[in-house]
């Protein structure tokens, strides 16, 4: 996967809690056997009418957010189904960073396996980002090494993530290749069980 170290980009605010992966990518698009091309189906039922035209009341369709690469949302983002098609769709659409007060466990993991950086920030900080991005074209910077989010105008937030996920994201490692260096340990475990 592509490493991610620093990212600067436009914020798209989606002020809802408990956004489940069925909303991120509805089931009718899970039938494909490829990893690519899911971006056009992202938030499909929220973005499009039955006839395929864009819904004007869904903010991702607002031109103001064209080219957004940082999604900021409410708590428990990515709950529900384990479908990795959800991070694939977000990534294919152009999102590289997702910020929320909390994430569902499987979704969080799935992001880090695909070079998407999930960032947990306090509800207060998240709300601040959402408010600013709702009222203006708002760009922020993320530095994974320093574990910081800044906007160059005084906003600064630090975030935590497990050391292992940080290294995987910074280096873009092939996790299976890393694990296979421990092949002997796996074989030993198998021999003794």
């Amino acid at each position: 996967m592509e490493p991610i170290r620093k990212h600067e980009g436009l914020v798209y605010p989606l002020n809802r809690a408990n956004i489940d992966t069925d909303q991120i990518i509805p089931k009718q698009f899970l039938k494909r056997i490829e990893r690519q091309g899911f971006g056009k189906f992202l938030f499909y039922n929220w973005r499009f009418n039955e006839d395929g035209t864009e819904k004007s009341d869904f903010t991702l369709n607002d031109k103001k957010y064209n080219g957004a690469s940082i999604l900021v949302a409410g708590e428990n983002f990515g709950c529900g189904s384990s479908r990795e098609h959800a991070p694939w769709a977000l990534q294919d659409y152009g999102f590289k960073v997702i910020i929320a007060p909390s994430f569902a466990d499987i979704f969080y993991n799935n992001c880090t396996k695909n070079g998407i950086l999930p960032i947990r920030l306090s509800e207060q900080k998240t709300e601040k980002l959402i408010q600013t991005a709702e009222s203006s074209k708002y760009r922020i910077s993320v530095d994974l090494q320093k574990q910081q989010v800044t906007d160059g105008q005084g906003f600064l937030a630090e975030f935590d993530l497990p050391a292992y996920q940080k290294q995987m994201l910074l280096n873009g490692w092939d996790e299976i290749a890393v694990t296979l260096t421990l092949e002997q340990a796996i074989a030993d475990y198998e021999a003794s069980h």
Binding site: N18, D22, R32, E175, T179, I186
Partner: protein, 474 residues
């Protein structure tokens, strides 16, 4: 005397392959279940790197999400068809056992694992499916994974996992008559919310849990993920041992089975073991539940009214309730038992086992499905279907006006042709009432099999306890 441990700690310790600083543990996986939707990209990944499946004999596949339940072999959707064919090719190329669409072992992956005795206490079990938590009912550590992790397990039979925190969900007292384990898990999620389990593995304990049959326990553990927990389990006991005895993949010799049963039961959480957190609920307080909103925490007793957003504690809660009510086409304060329905779905990995079907059949026996309702029963596996037919349940259902279908995930997520049309309402025994889950614009109400059956007859929700009583008197 050594420190008392939870079953979660015991299983974990036995599966650690490798530990080092600043890394999760490398955990060995005993059983990897595979289905057609979340595996094709994983197999493709192996091919691209010229990797093989490390332990095909610990890997078991079936097709369940896409399969037609009406005309078994007519897959109209070309992309679905391709996905199923791809699984077949992948299993054949990598040497994996597959319960294909017309195989007698076919069924929903979380129904057939236990049925075949592949699911056993103490195992680590994964599948590219969030309802893998179901297998925790046996005292296995079972959790859903993404496709990248599926590929990792195929290639290495391991996963990097941080040791989980443990959460004791203690259910005191006994469930009332007509109140099921589905009502129990819905009430737990309604009380504590859809993310109280995030970061935890749940162990369900207490009198009401010990009283449950294995199939009822599976219903509870199945919905752990709806509380945010990747895994939820129950310490094994005599009920577990009895259920598994004689199943295909457990030891058949009585002495051998006896020995392994002792090992299984020794996995149970030690008295005095410490959990990272505990929540409690009184079983006696629980009524039959109906979900009113768009996540499984939005659930109320059947005697209650739909919530009023103006009474919400915070502005964001208010907005969430308003949005859910709008999607669901409900009014604040409306009694939930007056809400008319157009569809009933009895099935899914939550509630499609033989005992679920028996209880629903008992409710509809000698009655007729309401004229406004289309009702289907989708057994969880081919073998559930056969067993149900052997005792005449299919006849009870079809005489009442239900359709009797073939096994699969079906209308739980509507990836096949079993779809609820926009704006229509379904009483469903499945696990998720998310927007669009059963079809774009479809409105899902989660209930137990008994409650779904009673709603099918009445055309609206009804307290199944009163319904059954009235039937007995008439």
């Amino acid at each position: 005397m050594s420190k008392p441990k939870t079953i979660i700690e015991k299983i974990w310790e036995r599966h650690v392959v490798h530990q080092e600083q600043d890394k999760p543990d490398l955990l060995y996986i005993d059983l990897h279940l595979v289905h057609e939707v979340t595996s094709p990209q994983a197999f493709e990944g192996l091919r691209m790197k010229n990797r093989s499946v490390r332990r095909p004999e610990l890997t078991y596949a079936t097709m369940d999400h896409n399969v037609p339940t009406k005309h078994r072999n007519i897959v109209k959707d070309a992309i679905s068809k391709k996905q199923m064919e791809t699984l077949k090719e992948n299993c054949s190329q990598f040497g994996i056992s597959l319960a294909d669409i017309d195989h007698p072992d076919q069924g929903i992956v979380h129904v057939i694992g236990p049925e075949l005795g592949l699911t056993q206490p103490g195992k680590t079990i994964v599948c590219g499916d969030s309802h893998t938590s179901t297998h925790g009912a046996f005292g296995a550590l079972a959790f859903g994974i993404g496709t990248s992790e599926v590929e990792h397990v195929l290639a290495t039979q391991t996963l990097w996992q941080a040791p989980p925190k443990s959460l004791n969900v203690q259910v005191n007292g006994k469930l009332g008559k007509g109140v099921t384990s589905k009502d129990l898990i819905l009430a737990i999620i309604a009380k504590y919310g859809v993310r109280f389990g995030t970061g935890y593995v749940i162990e369900y304990t207490g009198e009401a849990i010990r009283d449950l049959t294995m199939e009822e326990r599976m219903t509870v553990c199945n919905m752990s993920i709806e509380a945010g927990a990747r895994a939820g389990l129950i310490s094994p006991d005599d009920i577990t041992v009895e259920y598994l005895q004689g199943r295909r993949h457990v030891p058949q010799e009585p002495e051998e089975y006896e020995a392994i049963s002792r090992e299984w039961k020794a996995l149970a959480t030690d008295p005095g073991a410490v959990y990272d957190a505990t929540v409690t609920i009184d079983a006696e307080e629980i009524e039959p539940q109906v979900s009113w909103g768009t996540n499984p925490g939005m659930c109320i007793p059947v005697s209650a009214n739909v919530p009023d957003p103006s009474r919400a504690e915070t502005a964001s809660k208010k907005e969430e309730i308003e949005r859910a009510l709008e999607y669901m086409g409900l009014q604040p304060g409306q009694p939930i038992d007056e809400v008319p329905i157009e569809h009933v779905f009895i099935g899914s990995c939550t509630n499609s086992r033989l005992s679920d079907l028996r209880r629903a059949a008992e409710v509809v026996r000698s009655k007729k499905v309401h004229r406004n309702v289309q009702a289907i029963v989708v057994p969880g596996s081919f073998s559930v279907k056969t067993a149900a037919e052997a005792e005449g349940l299919d006849v009870i259902f079809t005489q009442a006006g239900f359709e009797w279908r073939d096994a699969g995930c079906s209308m739980c997520l509507a990836m096949n042709d079993d779809i609820v049309p926009p704006g229509e309402r379904c009483a469903s025994t499945s696990n998720r009432n998310f927007e669009g889950r059963q079809g774009n614009g479809a409105r899902t109400h989660l209930v137990s099999p008994e409650m779904a059956a009673a709603a099918a007859i009445e055309g609206h929700f009804v307290d199944v306890r009163k319904f059954t009583e009235a039937t007995l008197q008439s």
